[in-house]
């Protein structure tokens, strides 16, 4: 996987273009998204680091989310082509992520301690609960997916997140037919829903 990236890097020093990137993702080529990340990561961190006083780790996380957004938009068909360079698009999306992160940080910094002390114990408890609920929901879902066998998990990710066709999944995972892929997918989904059903407390 990474050998593919570095071999690409050695053979072609220029950054990947938008058309090449979109076509590669649409074909289900895993190495393309890795190359996009590797090609633009340092430049983005360098550029963003001059404009926002964030830690390098934060900048890296924001760029990872940026590339994820680009990937999801391409696989969902929302992006078929770009009018600008790929780098420009990523910087624009990343800039929104940076601003959102900046607002979040300011909110944290701007809440004065006296205001916090004036809040009632019940309000604080409720807000904590809301925050915890969101995180808890995510944690449960993450845990539920982790309980699936690896093959099942990978198949579902390919089908839902990567939006690969049954035929593409068949080739990638070595199934004998598309029908087998469809049946396995239904079984895996059924397993996942039953795990979630068992893990999540019933609504009152």
């Amino acid at each position: 996987m990474f050998q593919t990236y570095f071999s690409l890097d050695k053979s072609n020093n220029s950054k990947i273009g938008a058309t090449q990137a979109i076509e590669g993702i649409q074909k289900g080529d895993n190495s393309v998204i890795e190359r996009i990340y590797a090609d633009f990561r340092n430049d983005f961190i360098h550029w963003a680091g001059k404009r926002f006083p964030f830690e390098k780790e934060d900048l890296r996380d924001i760029f990872q989310q940026t590339v994820c957004i680009f990937y999801e938009k391409v696989v969902s068909g929302k992006i078929q082509s770009l009018d600008c360079a790929l780098g420009t698009y990523l910087y624009a999306v990343g800039f929104n992520g940076l601003r959102a992160h900046s607002r979040k940080m300011k909110k944290i910094d701007l809440v004065p301690p006296e205001e916090l002390s004036s809040l009632s114990a019940q309000t604080l408890h409720e807000s904590e609960l809301t925050f915890d609920e969101e995180e808890e929901e995510k944690a449960i879902l993450r845990k539920a997916l982790d309980q699936l066998p690896e093959n099942c998990r990978n198949l579902l990710i390919m089908a839902v997140y990567d939006r690969l066709s049954n035929e593409q999944i068949m080739v990638k995972m070595g199934y004998q037919s598309k029908a087998t892929v469809a049946v396995t997918k239904t079984k895996c989904l059924s397993k996942l829903t039953s795990i979630i059903k068992n893990m999540k407390p019933p609504k009152s």
Binding site: F2, N42, I157, T193
Partner: protein
Amino acid sequence: MKESDRILLDKYFDGSLSPEEEVLFAQRIAEDPLFEAEVELLNNARQAIIIGGRDALQARFKAIDKQLDQKPPSFPGRKWIWMIVLPTLFVFSLCLYFFLPPLSRQQLSKPVQQQKDSLGDTISTSKPLLPATFQDTIPTQKEKKALPKQVYALDVNALMKTHFSAYSDDVIEGLKDQTRSDSANVLQTWLKAYVARDYKSVIANYTKLPDKAARADKTRVILGNAYLVTHEPDKVMALFDPEAITTDNKLATEIYWLLGWAWLQKGKQTQSLAYFKKVSEDTGNLRQASALKLVDTLSKANRDASGQ
């Protein structure tokens, strides 16, 4: 669960509901809480898979981070600068090596102490190159007897000094061009001997000079000067064919000046006067004033001699 509901839910999950099925789907949610709960479960499952997909993608990015952070930091934006600067420096170095005159190259490679004695450095100084040369040219007792007293009434020393100073600047500066040839070292050694007033070496080593350099008028003028200093006027005259000297020869005045002095050393005032007249007629040359004085003095001496 009914089979029709199962198909509806599968199509919903795949995102392939037709408009009619979408209406039916909304209807089923509204009327059946169990169906609604199944839909919510499917939505949760989808959300779980998307979270898992993002986690998997970010794990791949983190692995790339490790690989990239192990590599030395690169500055992609500045690579092109080095791609221009390094070849330019290389080409500049080559140009310096091939186009810098060998003399300058030698100077550059020499320590500072040695540079003081080098030809180029000496030329650039404002001191007279040959401060003692005129003393060497003071006529012998025999020559003195042959020359009229009026000639000695002239400031011979000053005349010769002017001659050598101008000579140094014009001729040797011009000769520096020739040191760019392959035989630079031989010619340079020869010139050094001249600057060091080692006239015997100048005369002895003239034959070792490359043909091209030896034939050059500038070189022969230097040799003629050496002969003059060593009181060998015949050899000065043998160097130059007066009839072959054309008016467009840039060194014609220099040669006439040398021949004038050579004839004077031989005590032949008439011939000497003829050459000094030619020098005096060349307006603008450094020796014109001196030549006019000599012409005047020699003419008077001739008149006196003929009157007697």
